[in-house]
Symmetry: D2
Subunit: 368 residues, 4 copies
Amino acid sequence: MPFIPTKYNHPDFNKPPLSEAPFATFRKVTEDGVLPVDYHATSVYPEYFHLEKAGWRLLEHSRMDCGVVLGKDGSLQAKEFRHIEKGNLVACGRRENGEDGIFVHANGFEPLEQSHDKFSFRTHVSRETSFSVDYDELYNLLNYERENGFILWVLGPAVAFDRDAREAMVRLIDNGFAHGLLAGNGLAVHDLEGALYGTALGREIYSKHPAPLGHYNHLDTINRINAAGSIKDAVRKELVQEGIMHAATKRSIPYVLAGSIRDDGPLPDVIGDVYLAQDKMRSLAQRATTVIALATQLHAIATGNMTPSYQVTEDGHVRPVYFYTVDMSEFVINKLANRGSLTARTILTNVQDFVVTLAHGLQQRQGC
Amino acid sequence: MPFIPTKYNHPDFNKPPLSEAPFATFRKVTEDGVLPVDYHATSVYPEYFHLEKAGWRLLEHSRMDCGVVLGKDGSLQAKEFRHIEKGNLVACGRRENGEDGIFVHANGFEPLEQSHDKFSFRTHVSRETSFSVDYDELYNLLNYERENGFILWVLGPAVAFDRDAREAMVRLIDNGFAHGLLAGNGLAVHDLEGALYGTALGREIYSKHPAPLGHYNHLDTINRINAAGSIKDAVRKELVQEGIMHAATKRSIPYVLAGSIRDDGPLPDVIGDVYLAQDKMRSLAQRATTVIALATQLHAIATGNMTPSYQVTEDGHVRPVYFYTVDMSEFVINKLANRGSLTARTILTNVQDFVVTLAHGLQQRQGC
Amino acid sequence: MPFIPTKYNHPDFNKPPLSEAPFATFRKVTEDGVLPVDYHATSVYPEYFHLEKAGWRLLEHSRMDCGVVLGKDGSLQAKEFRHIEKGNLVACGRRENGEDGIFVHANGFEPLEQSHDKFSFRTHVSRETSFSVDYDELYNLLNYERENGFILWVLGPAVAFDRDAREAMVRLIDNGFAHGLLAGNGLAVHDLEGALYGTALGREIYSKHPAPLGHYNHLDTINRINAAGSIKDAVRKELVQEGIMHAATKRSIPYVLAGSIRDDGPLPDVIGDVYLAQDKMRSLAQRATTVIALATQLHAIATGNMTPSYQVTEDGHVRPVYFYTVDMSEFVINKLANRGSLTARTILTNVQDFVVTLAHGLQQRQGC
Amino acid sequence: MPFIPTKYNHPDFNKPPLSEAPFATFRKVTEDGVLPVDYHATSVYPEYFHLEKAGWRLLEHSRMDCGVVLGKDGSLQAKEFRHIEKGNLVACGRRENGEDGIFVHANGFEPLEQSHDKFSFRTHVSRETSFSVDYDELYNLLNYERENGFILWVLGPAVAFDRDAREAMVRLIDNGFAHGLLAGNGLAVHDLEGALYGTALGREIYSKHPAPLGHYNHLDTINRINAAGSIKDAVRKELVQEGIMHAATKRSIPYVLAGSIRDDGPLPDVIGDVYLAQDKMRSLAQRATTVIALATQLHAIATGNMTPSYQVTEDGHVRPVYFYTVDMSEFVINKLANRGSLTARTILTNVQDFVVTLAHGLQQRQGC
């Protein structure tokens, strides 16, 4: 059956209390990066601001924990504290039900007849949860999103360690199921080591046999990409001829490699300033309609923070953003699931099996 | 490529120190269940006993932590303490290199040129280990064992919770890839609940939607099987028409359901005396040439304890027993991997994905 | 501040729907172990049955997943399926609100003004939850229970592996903070190996240095206790002079050692029939007012199944049973927390540190 | 007993093969950040370079995965790839036994009679390992290091979530057991939220009760510190009057707060460029004689990468660097333990209990 995104229930601004709500208050910032004491902070949900000129207005391209800046043109922007500047007009008021002219629409994507049972269930996902239906829904979703959405992958290094998983990921990219990639130096280096030496951290990627002096392969990979100039250059010069980064580069899939204090090297393409990296990640996240985060606590939480639960499409419709996290640990999964959104799903398994199963399942449905 | 079991390196009894070893000492037991102070305890490895009449003799059907009893006919038997009786002659001596007439052949299945690197690697399996080659080896192994061996499955309840995994397990049984099953009350009840109600612990097995009064399904299943008399009766009467227990029953795959203090009910087929259950489990374990233990710490460790690392085939060859454990937790896996045998392999993943991937991989190789 | 058990809110049987409820239906069992199709199954909560002669009557000594048998004397008993006999009168009806003459009082211990926020919080315990207040509450609770309750410990083997933890556990027993112990063969053998050899699984218990032939100590311990006759005999004969089992034996703390298929030996005191073991465990569990389960998934879940959330004291008051589980894994803890009772608490940590901290904290409060 | 650091076994350069080793080769770098193809990469171990003028020379202030640059003055420096500049002379050669004029002294701190048994043991630490002796050794170590070393703490956010743990950490700082701190934005914000609001992520830090609008406390903390200018300013202005950051600031303990893509805010003191942060972290790491990393995978691995296994003291002695990691997960611990150094120790527990037990244990020994 074809996929249909969950319908959005628009708030009814003609009914009280919203029909009687005051206009939202905006106060002027007096110092860069410092907000008025009663600033309003954004959530992942659709939020509406009651403006004097424009009436109730939905904040587009939101993310968690931002201030909301009113532009001279009447536009609204969710800005991280570090981007708030002296003179900005920032929305103030902390009541989320309209009493401050701000309405946070937390249940816009819930079926109106939502039962309590169902909701409580979602909060108790464990390794013993049945995931067959989640896979099937994901096949439908991705086939839909390939044409109609923007699928953003967040990749931990484990995806590049296993031959079958790496090949499956490449197949997903080649078949149009990836519109953007977020990762770190580790994923890229491991994948490129696979391309240059056929190893992962010095072990032959399939047989796991240690290569002679194999522990140098990791650093040698960085050194050779540095010499080539960039990953793109390395692909162009045919130094790198296969793998995830190769596929993404060949198909011009935009990617952001964000730096961390754990990095060796780093590769020339890695962004060392994490806040600049956040900005670039967010520029992809705010286009995303489906996010799939695989085995990376750091990048998955970071992406979760900057991805709203909704997206406004070009034709003005509000649709949900589906956010999947796949990990082995209930602890990590729970951290990510606490976004409080029905559109967040989690699958507890090894990402190697996940990617292989996913690529195979899509293929069976003629998608891949 | 067709599978060939690792060749066994027989010990050379013509070389010192074995050629000069004394005969093994056997002492008479004076009280049921109490061994002489210097009794010899078995390991998982092939062990040879130097007998006055028969020379060096391999202990067949061994298991860990047993005494070795010399029969009147010169036979050797590994017996659990609880089965040692007054009057038994028990092997004594704790040096394992032949000096006490006992030789523990710990590296009979290792390639003679075994490098240190390789060995150290096997001890560090984690969720980030690459498992593609393990799957491929397993496909080869199971295709070989289907005709030439005895494949014993040890199943935790999680296998029965997921529709695809349950169906894949049934397919494996139907296609000849299971010669025996070990499990507990939980696995059987969950699977039978699936057959009777289409639910697992009260949730529809595929959609996960809660069934009305679904929490009764678990107990109702037990009650109805009790009324039918046994699982076999329930299958015969067509009360149970599908699932893992159904497939095993239909194909006369022997199974042992061992009781635990955690059991509800129990089902009539469950053995309440755990030491009797151990005996019955061991009667299957001692036929096993490959063991696959899925997501069950209790049953996997129990089976590991009673499974030797080798098997003597009907034509007198010594071959390895392959022991796979699949679990989500490094902690559990490490507990199981400490058998100190190269034939023990571990895969860190969700067993749902494991079983589905396995059944699909075997099918692709025309096996399944 | 002194501890006061949460007050119980008795149901009001004079208000509808309870005042208008019919009498409960009891049907005769026609075959041993098989209940009428619409039998009522017990929960962990206080349950009331509307009897023709006696009016609303509270089921005492309940446990999960039992049938309720009406005695000739009008008494009510929660019986496991395996104890239900032909001729028994079993309560029938599955509506829990009184409509079938049965009332399940799920929120008897909740503050009447219970907020939703608070409840949702308790379900999300993780390793990052703050536990200072839980320790403090536990000190108060145990000081109260020492005089007024029955503290039941459920011990996994890890408690006996560490010198400080083992000594702290002994101190807790010696100071009156343990009224019963539930454990398996493993805990007892490891503890007794400590007493006989100063090792745990062959390593010196403090320094962790391997003892010569230390892997025999485990089996030698079993063998020597078998020779002595029982743990009690071994203590009497001064073979065992210290440790947890020694302290419990000396102070006549009742304990149940339940068998499992994983057991070596076993020790003579271990009960091999798990359903008999369940009965003996339940005879302690039904006296318990506080249960503390440490690092044992099997025994903790088993005990949780047989422990109600309430206890009727000698003077007829209804009080809560406090159930603590301490473990390293969110997965295990979540399994245990799903009792759905506010009286279940969990602490995520290593039980070694937990026991040491607990004994020290009680001592500081002059308790220990 | 007083603590004595493990003695260092100096290599004997007068014996072959070292006595016959050639001089190390240094090649000129032709492009910033790109090393000659056969560059030598550093390990965590002491490494010696055979120089024409100075003979065998120990590399001081090493770290993993660096190139080694020979200065004009004959000095040797371990430099990350990103700091290697055109014109640098970089050590080349990958044989570590002296054949290339480079000697990696991997076992300088091992007792010469080191047995195999002992070594294999250290690699199998799990939650069931006994840790009493590790605590005792740590008390001795820290009492020694307080006067004679440099104790560097690496703190994950969990330390600031619990009242008792936070107070214990402050006590450790106040009593001289901390000479440096490494952490991220999260730890600092959580700790400062505790100081400003008495909450952690909006819950009262002890009772865990949710504060009204408590989810704003996290962001409000960042906003108020931003307004104050810096943590130091906030302490000076008495906005922040207690807690970990307060204690460190008051006692002028140097700290580095490294940024990550997960950060909210960030606080003004956080370093956004991760490679600059690495440099600052390393400037503390290279002074460290003991490192204790608590519940932070990212910062612990980062610090592990930049900390050598040895330190050259002011008077020219070579001593070990002790590296402790404390975490709940075998997976994380194993990642960190793979430094291959005997001086790396791990404790599996909740860091809350660890810090409380540690502070209490040191106090009992009159240290704290």
